[in-house]
């Protein structure tokens, strides 16, 4: 275990979160086409960042920084990380961030077609998932031997976590599609709004039952209850932010320009959604790490006994 690698992976994950916020600012300000060229803006690396070009070019600069950080993380992993699968995940991160940059360029060049813009927003979440996973895999708590827990429920926690993670991801895709289907001065399509609301209900059910199962089955085990509690808290905040975002967005087409309340709340909704996703990733990975699926108890390291994790 290398502390430096973990800290750097954490830095990349945090930078990616900031990048998601920067991207959400672009969408909410309708700044995606503030310049018609790519990768330069108006033919310059550092153009005068006035009007919406501040958001669009700012997003490009942050994205470039995250790309460079991801490459640096991969080099760091190649030099210091012994587990080949972690190095390969680092390589996947590099591929994902490059693909994400190209997709960003494509969406500018094709003038924000819905599918490309939604794919850009979706791949952003997948890349975030990768950087969060790398931070988890390089952490001390992941690498050091931990007590293993016996599966205590009729429905394995692994399945519940996977279901919650999958529904959150699908909900993020729906949210991205909804956001990119109409600019601030157009009404949101009713069908997508209803689908996103229905998706929220499904997430509440899956993540809610997962968190409750964690608390019922593994009370006191902070390794699992910690991320579960954070995920639930964020989910509650996210629901209120979603309602507030909808209400401010309803009024938006009558406004002369994207106003700060709508922009701020909507971007907070996007950011909180990413955090719900990230904490559920942590919970899922930890569950796969310490909650077994078989019932054959073995000695692990002389200190603890547990269940073989398959």
């Amino acid at each position: 275990m290398n502390k430096g690698v973990h800290r750097f992976a954490l830095l990349v994950a945090c930078a990616t979160f900031f990048l998601i916020i920067a991207g959400a600012m672009v969408t909410s300000h309708d700044a995606g086409l503030a310049t018609s060229d790519w990768p330069l803006s108006n033919g310059q690396v550092f153009p005068k960042m006035v009007g919406n070009l501040f958001w669009e070019h700012g997003h490009r600069l942050v994205a470039t920084s995250v790309g460079l950080l991801t490459i640096a993380l991969y080099i760091y992993l190649v030099r210091k990380e012994r587990r080949s699968w972690v190095r390969r995940l680092g390589l996947f991160g590099v591929i994902a961030v490059v693909a994400q940059g190209l997709l960003g360029g494509l969406t500018v060049k094709l003038m924000l077609p819905l599918a490309v813009s939604a794919a850009h927003a979706t791949l952003a979440q997948l890349f975030f998932c990768t950087t969060v996973s790398l931070a988890v895999f390089t952490s001390r708590s992941w690498i050091e031997a931990r007590p293993k827990f016996e599966e205590q429920g009729s429905v394995p926690l692994r399945y519940l976590c996977t279901a919650a993670l999958a529904t959150i991801f699908l909900q993020l895709i729906l949210g991205a599609t909804l956001r990119h289907s109409a600019t601030w001065d157009q009404p949101l399509p009713t069908e997508l709004v209803l689908a996103h609301v229905a998706g929220a209900l499904v997430v509440v059910l899956t993540l809610g039952s997962t968190v409750l199962s964690v608390f019922r089955r593994y009370k006191g085990e902070k390794y699992l209850t910690g991320p579960a509690a954070i995920a639930l808290s964020l989910l509650i905040v996210q629901l209120f932010l979603g309602l507030a975002a909808y209400l401010t967005r309803l009024a938006s087409p009558n406004d002369p320009q994207p106003l700060n309340p709508m922009v701020g709340i909507t971007v907070a909704h996007v950011a909180c959604g990413a955090l719900v996703f990230a904490t559920t990733i942590v919970l899922t990975l930890r569950t796969f790490s310490v909650v077994g699926v078989s019932h054959s108890t073995v000695k692990l390291d002389g200190r603890t006994t547990g269940v073989v994790s398959i």
């Binding site: 995606g32 009007g51 919406n52 390589l91 003038m111 599918a115 794919a119 850009h120």
Partner: protein, 291 residues
């Protein structure tokens, strides 16, 4: 983990391909271009008249909203009182209404669209001045030149969003030469916006023939040179998702004038509002209101 990495790779590639495929289907550039001069169509040489009228606004117009130009200081310096232009009313008269002959026939029975109408050689100018478009609403013939100028000491980008013509988006720095474009297909109306300054909006009406006008500050308009006949005249005003239209049958006498007065506003909207049950502003169930 090797398998997981492969799954992710395949997923991201699939997403990219899906996006590309969708993007390739998007372009309206595949539309066959219309021509102002129909092949084999005859030119009109008979008697002509005019369509004149006044556009009024009934009820209390919405107050113009002040625009926050702090994102680009130059805009505030040049145009400190910049406000919205969607409903410009003076003494009850409504400006910026696009009035045009939609269809109908001349006295000889030939439809207006079946004549050949040559596009003028003069360009229509759309200027960006004080971080708003001048004029706010304009008409142009198919294949007539549109010249876009930037009179501001800041950069703009021009982004028309047509449905029948190719969409384009072009940055125009301050001091850059005019951008010249044409629209090959008729379309009423094409919204134009500046993605640098999101409050900037204009509308372009593109028609095969030259029979259109935009109401002036006093609400008046005149459409000249209309072949004598009977026509459907439409007045379009921005607002809502696709604007509001009023329609009227007008007979244009030879060497005379047909009258077409239109009314927009609260009272006019109440008179023509169709029944629908609104649960929330964004959720309408029109079928419930039809019983």
């Amino acid at each position: 983990m090797k398998k997981q990495t492969k799954v992710w790779l395949v997923l991201s590639i699939a997403l990219s391909l899906l996006a590309l495929a969708s993007a390739c289907n998007k372009s309206p550039e595949t539309n066959a271009p219309e021509t102002s001069t129909n092949a084999g169509a005859k030119t009109y040489s008979g008697p002509v008249g005019t369509v004149t009228g006044v556009v009024v606004y009934t009820g209390t117009p919405p107050a113009p909203k002040k625009i926050d130009t702090s994102a680009d200081a130059v805009c505030g310096q040049k145009n400190p009182n910049l406000s919205t232009e969607d409903t410009v009313v003076k003494d009850g008269k409504l400006a910026n209404v696009f009035v045009y002959v939609k269809d109908g026939a001349a006295t000889d029975g030939t439809k207006i669209g079946d004549f050949a109408w040559t596009a003028p050689s003069t360009a229509v100018v759309l200027d960006q001045n004080g971080c708003h478009y001048r004029p706010h609403v304009l008409g142009i013939q198919t294949n007539q030149k549109l010249s876009i100028t930037n009179s501001d000491p800041t950069q703009h980008n021009i982004h028309p969003q047509p449905k029948n013509n190719p969409e384009w988006n072009q940055t125009q720095p301050n001091g850059a030469p005019p951008i010249e474009k044409t629209f090959a297909r008729s379309e009423v109306l094409i919204p134009v916006k500046c993605n640098q300054h999101p409050w900037m909006k204009a509308y372009i009406g593109v028609l095969k023939h030259p029979f259109f006008a935009v109401s002036a500050d006093d609400g008046t308009f005149t459409i000249k040179g209309v072949p004598a006949g009977t026509y459907t005249v439409v007045a379009w005003h921005e607002g809502g998702a696709a604007g509001t239209e009023k329609t009227m049958q007008v007979t244009v006498p030879a060497n005379g004038s047909g009258k077409a007065d239109f009314a927009f506003g609260e009272a006019a909207a109440a008179a023509t509002r169709s029944g629908s049950l609104e649960i929330m502003p964004a959720l309408e169930f029109p079928m419930l209101g039809k019983h």
